[in-house]
């Protein structure tokens, strides 16, 4: 248990460093799609909700888990959709006008 925790802390620290390095390099041009993309990725929290709803250990857990799946899924679907729509609009000079 203690070891698990320490591993988790390591993972968090490394991911935070990677996050800073990777995000710093993203052109300000794409900061809006970036935010909608990270929003969709963040909705991976749905996996916790799925287990909660699926295990059905208590009624409370099942209800809260179900609502949590709904809100996370709407972020996944909506987030990927709108990010894709935005990125499709970014065209270089000389590209065919839509």
């Amino acid at each position: 248990m203690k070891i698990d925790l320490l591993t988790s802390l390591y993972v968090f620290m490394l991911a935070a460093f990677i996050g800073f390095e990777v995000i710093k390099r993203i052109t300000p041009l794409l900061h809006t799609p970036l935010m909608s993309l990270t929003n969709a990725l963040d909705a991976i929290a749905v996996v916790g909700a799925i287990i909660l709803a699926g295990e059905h250990k208590t009624t409370l857990a099942a209800i809260l888990g179900t609502i949590a799946i709904i809100s996370a899924t709407s972020n996944i679907v909506g987030g990927f959709l709108i990010t894709d729509r935005m990125l499709k609009m970014f065209k270089p000079s000389g590209a065919k006008k839509a």
């Binding site: 390099r25 963040d42 799925i50 909660l52 990927f80 990125l87």
Partner: protein, 466 residues
């Protein structure tokens, strides 16, 4: 037993691949040429992780999951199809949804019957998850409401506001500490959900419309951090990584925004960006300005070699971006080099102006960031300002008494000719007079942005090649 272990391993492997894909997804987001590949990587990662989770041996009830997934999709599709001007409020709303998911899972975890009591560290992380999640739910809803203009945009302040807000947060943290030390007092738990819910509302009340880019980014960071905390509680490395990436992204964006608005680091961290700028003492002496007609403006633009257009949110409000694209096309056809200078806070969220211009079919290589374009102004024949004000105010550079002194601006005053499309001589958002308008080289083009740009375009095409 073997089978169970086998499926657990398989699940962990899908999570591992999903984690790698998420990082790749953000790496590919760095440029427009690879960005769509980034979305694809994210989608595959997401699908893999969800499919893996469904193999979890403890799952007995697939019906609920399926219904919830379908319902979420039904809600998500319209949220993916909003207009580009509505993207900021959509983003705020989705921060709220993400935080709702995290808070609900945290609450359910707290009340789950378990054989061994939760460790203190775990309880502390769970409390953090729920507090951050709950304040993000209501804070983001408030932000979305203000952006959608369902709520008043202007900041509402009262005496002792900071004291009340910090007090609320303090009480929530004290309750959390008590819970960590005495986890048997489960009756305290609702308080660490309810108090941050109230705090989220109170936090956004004093914040005005122009500060929204910072607020959205900060809430993005909070949403990410609460998801990472949830990862600790569930011992899910995938969730920790996704939450940390999201948290880092929101943090960097809010730092960018605060730098662009000349606010300090601690100002952002503590969310105290609400205070209204004290308007400079109204020196309302009527100073003369030079104005020009669309015909004159068209002639000057047509004779220019290099033009930089500086759009502000006023352009989007006037729905003038398509007319601006026509102007861009018309000038480009005449061989004029036209670029766009974009201030980081032009728009309602980081990068918003780029999306609005890209939607109007302006090529992205013509959209330049403040730092990229500022060196170009001395060689620019015409700087055309449409619906922007404070971000072009030279007082930010050279008048230490100005409330916006120190804010990075677009150096439009260095261009040979400056043209400003503006309805009237009213002051900008911060109530600050803009000395730019009184320069000899400045021409004021009075009128509605869409109408005026349309008139210039008509003059350009009517005049033919001359």
């Amino acid at each position: 037993m073997n089978g169970i272990l086998g499926s657990d391993l398989l699940i962990e492997i899908t999570y591992l691949i999903a984690t790698a894909l998420f990082i790749l997804s953000l790496m590919w987001m760095s440029t427009p040429t690879t960005a769509r590949r980034g979305i694809f990587a994210g989608e595959i990662g997401m699908a893999l992780a969800i499919a893996g989770t469904l193999l979890h041996h403890g799952i007995v009830d697939y019906k609920l999951i399926l219904i919830a997934l379908v319902l979420g999709t039904i809600i998500g599709i319209p949220l993916g199809k909003v207009q580009m001007t509505a993207v900021p409020q959509r983003t705020a709303l989705s921060h709220s949804f993400g935080a709702l998911c995290v808070t609900l899972v945290g609450t359910a975890e707290f009340y789950l019957p378990r054989e061994a009591p939760m460790s203190r560290f775990m309880m502390a992380v769970l409390c953090m998850e729920v507090i951050l999640g709950a304040l993000t739910i209501t804070g983001s809803l408030m932000a979305a409401g203000k952006l959608q203009e369902w709520l008043p945009q202007r900041p509402i302040t009262y005496k002792g506001q900071n004291f009340v807000n910090l007090g609320l947060l303090g009480v929530a943290i004290i309750v959390a500490i008590v819970l960590v030390i005495h986890p048997e007092h489960t009756q305290l738990f609702p308080a660490i959900v309810a108090i941050p819910l109230v705090f989220g509302v109170m936090m956004i009340i004093p914040i005005g419309g122009a500060d929204m880019p910072t607020v959205i980014s900060l809430l993005n960071s909070y949403a990410g951090l609460s998801a990472a905390a949830m990862g600790f509680v569930l011992n899910s490395k995938l969730l920790i990584v996704a939450g940390a990436l999201d948290g880092a992204s929101g943090f960097i964006l809010s730092m960018n925004m605060s730098k662009a608005m000349n606010r300090s680091f601690s100002n952002v961290l503590f969310g105290a960006f609400g205070q209204e700028q004290t308007a400079a003492a109204g020196t309302a002496e009527a100073r003369p300005v030079r104005s020009a007609t669309a015909e004159e403006a068209a002639a000057i633009l047509a004779a220019a070699n290099k033009v930089v257009i500086v759009p502000g949110y006023g352009m989007a409000v006037a729905q003038a971006q398509h007319k601006v694209r026509e102007l861009f096309d018309s000038l480009s056809k005449r061989g004029v080099d036209v670029k766009f200078g974009i201030h980081p806070v032009a728009g309602r969220m980081p990068g918003h102006m780029n999306v609005l211009l890209a939607e109007a079919d302006i090529p992205y290589d013509r959209l330049l960031d403040m730092d990229e374009i500022n060196g170009d102004f001395p060689q620019t024949d015409v700087a055309l300002i449409i619906g922007a004000n404070d971000v072009t105010n030279p007082a930010a550079r050279n008048d230490a008494s100005s409330p916006i002194f120190g804010m990075p601006i677009l150096d439009v005053d260095k261009a040979r000719t400056v043209m400003v499309i503006k309805r009237s001589m009213g002051a900008g958002f911060a109530g600050i007079e803009n000395p730019l308008y009184f320069m000899d080289r400045t021409l004021m083009l009075f009128g509605d942005a869409k109408g005026f740009v349309g008139n210039i375009v008509r003059e350009l095409s009517g005049g033919g090649g001359h």
